[in-house]
Symmetry: none
Subunit: 409 residues, 2 copies
């Protein structure tokens, strides 16, 4: 079964907007033992989209499109397919009623232009959109293309996902192969190349699994894919001794999930005081549901005034030691730990750029961990632009706490 | 001139790895007045890649590939094109010498398998790789395809970029069109469909510009592209009265840039107190270089304990009014404004989900703005998952402040 994905939107070609829908769809297909043979991004240009749709009909058994279902002048996915396949667009009364109800729930009436969204190609079925106004389309065996299936989904990720889960996946179940299973191991504090070398022997021992190493700014992921869960489990068991304390977790979570999980298990709490990272660490933690069970909160003390007002640090003393210093980081962690009565506290200061600050070159970072047995400070030098230095500093801080908890076990 | 991009690598179809090379290439093309009509990701599968290359030769004037130039068994971009076009692969002595020199500089000799990389299709030119071992290929007027150009580049971004700059861009200069200019207008507080309707007339008046409306969770962008800066300037002038106070900014910046810019112009300062958004608002502001000139800092008061310890709120009083309430949001803003001595302060509380909290359904949000003339609270109900509710709440808070500053002008 050949499946292709078509992401529609000029912004995907001309701006930094990236098609992330197809990544999510690829994972869902893998869980059904299916996968894309290609994915294409194309603009809101009639000629280009029509050319691509025509080709896709000749080479693929399932065509999944995202985007171009909205109410505006440059939304015409349904029109193009209807035109190519010689079908009329017909208003679907249920879609129209859904749309009116959607607006009514918000005390509004649909703008006239929106009714275009209730048009569905004759012979196709609408896919309901429970979280938006644009219905999708499921078109099986369109004229002249027996055996072909077309799923037209919205470009808005939240709408696309719900429609896939409720409308498309159930229709694909009869076609699903043996599901592909994934073993995902998250590692922190180790460069990708080191991980590649250290794990080569074990990967070769499990050579008929499909291996990938994916590094980003906060962690490295080792992925293995294969049809047999027992084989993946055996690979995991072989990996654990090789990775040791560098292994953050196995499964879906990331570094921040692992830290919150460990805190909850120990019945301990965390507070943070962030200068350079400006709230990013708190934000990464509070992105996780239930974070408040272990994360108490923190202070974003981006200025001396804030360090004084929220944490009681003495401006004159800060002037002496410098706001980019080990002493400052330690004072941040100690103060926020004391104020919030937390078991642990992390303090971050440094210079993320773009310019040098108080003599500290860009990339200078001080990370402090205050805990039951004292306060320790690390001072890595980070490479990258402002966003990278901020993000990596939060990852290193979390990893510092993770390792401290693991060794204090 | 029709240009397409082909990104080669199975990891682009089966993992979360995303093709960012084509985003970079798209920007470089735009600076030459050129652009992609489509971009495709395909796996390291001979049949799939050959099918795609064959098609591309029939529809595009310039084909840019990334990936598949390495030494391993699944690198075969050059072979595929050579096969399709009926050309032999011939070892290029200079490429071989470059490779030997590259390894010699690292006190090594090239592995035998690497010499495959020095093979170039007969009739094509090698593109030197100053930062890696795989040369690229420039193939102009390949057999049977007069007027077609193929650029085969490595998949490693650093190598791809250098090769583009040194080998490909100079060859494209004679074909470059008039650079394309972009007018970007950022709008907040307005749904995309409203903007579409309100701006239709002006867009039609400037109909030979290329229009795109790009909505995300925090703002809507109106983009116009065209060759003539004067025409874009005329469009901007026509838009301003239509958009009125909804227009956040013109140019590169986003909502948070506009807010910081306005604060700096007025010599005013901002502090934030975040419960539900957990540091995200602070993090968005401090992502911008120079934020500390106007953003003093804030408190991430995710728990009652933090609200008491960092902002001096009375836990018993919080218990009475509830931590998801207008009174709580106002108290957060007032307290952090007073503590930090800021001109303005934003307070955010609510329930981002997943579960109901203290009787407040998911999506309930209270946003408070405290300023020189008092404190106001808004209570929008937001739709979406946890991350979306958190992000949208920070955008609405920023927009509340932006509008207050504009009307207090």
């Amino acid at each position: 079964m050949r499946i292709e994905c078509i992401a529609i939107g000029t912004e995907l070609l001309t701006t930094r907007r990236i098609d992330t829908n197809s990544v999510w769809l690829g994972e869902r297909l893998a869980s059904l033992g299916l996968g894309f043979h290609r994915k294409t991004a194309v603009g809101d240009i009639r000629r280009d989209l029509a050319e691509l749709c025509r080709e896709a009909l000749t080479r693929s058994d399932l065509i999944i499109t995202t985007g171009g279902l909205g109410p505006t002048f440059d939304d015409f996915t349904k029109e193009i397919f209807a035109e190519i396949l010689g079908a009329d667009l017909v208003e679907d009364t249920r879609c129209r009623a859904d749309m009116v109800a959607f607006y009514a729930a918000r005390n509004r009436v649909p703008p006239q232009v929106n009714f275009k969204q209730a048009l569905i190609p004759a012979g196709a079925e609408p896919l309901r959109n429970p979280v938006g106004t644009a219905p999708g389309v499921w078109w099986q065996d369109p004229p002249g293309h027996r055996g072909v299936r077309i799923a037209m989904l919205p470009g808005v990720p939240r709408e696309m996902k719900r429609m896939w889960e409720e409308g498309v996946e159930p229709r694909l179940l009869p076609l699903a192969g043996r599901g592909v299973h994934t073993l995902r191991m998250v590692v922190a504090g180790v460069p990708e190349s080191n991980l590649d070398e250290r794990t080569r022997e074990v990967r070769e021992r499990h050579g008929h699994l499909d291996w990938t190493i994916l590094a980003n700014l906060t962690q490295v992921e080792l992925l293995a894919r294969g049809p047999d869960p027992a084989e993946l489990e055996a690979a995991r068991a072989d990996f654990e001794p090789v990775l040791g304390a560098d292994l953050v977790s196995v499964g879906d979570g990331n570094l921040e999930d692992a830290v919150l999980e460990a805190l909850k298990l120990r019945g301990e709490t965390l507070a943070v005081a962030e200068s350079m990272s400006g709230g990013l660490l708190a934000s990464r933690l509070t992105a996780i549901p239930g974070a408040s069970e272990a994360f108490l909160g923190g202070a974003t003390v981006y200025t001396v005034r804030a360090k004084a007002a929220l944490l009681g640090l003495d401006p004159a003393w800060l002037e002496t030691v410098g706001t980019v210093s080990a002493a400052c980081a330690a004072a941040l962690a100690d103060a926020v730990r004391r104020r919030l009565g937390a078991t642990w506290a992390l303090g971050i200061c440094g210079n993320a750029g773009p310019g040098a600050e108080g003599g500290a070159p860009v990339g200078t970072v001080f990370l402090a961990l205050a805990g039951p047995t004292g306060t320790e400070v690390r001072s890595p030098t980070l490479v990258g632009d402002r966003a990278e230095v901020q993000l990596r500093s939060t990852a290193l801080a979390l990893d510092l706490l993770r390792r401290a908890m693991a060794s204090a076990r």
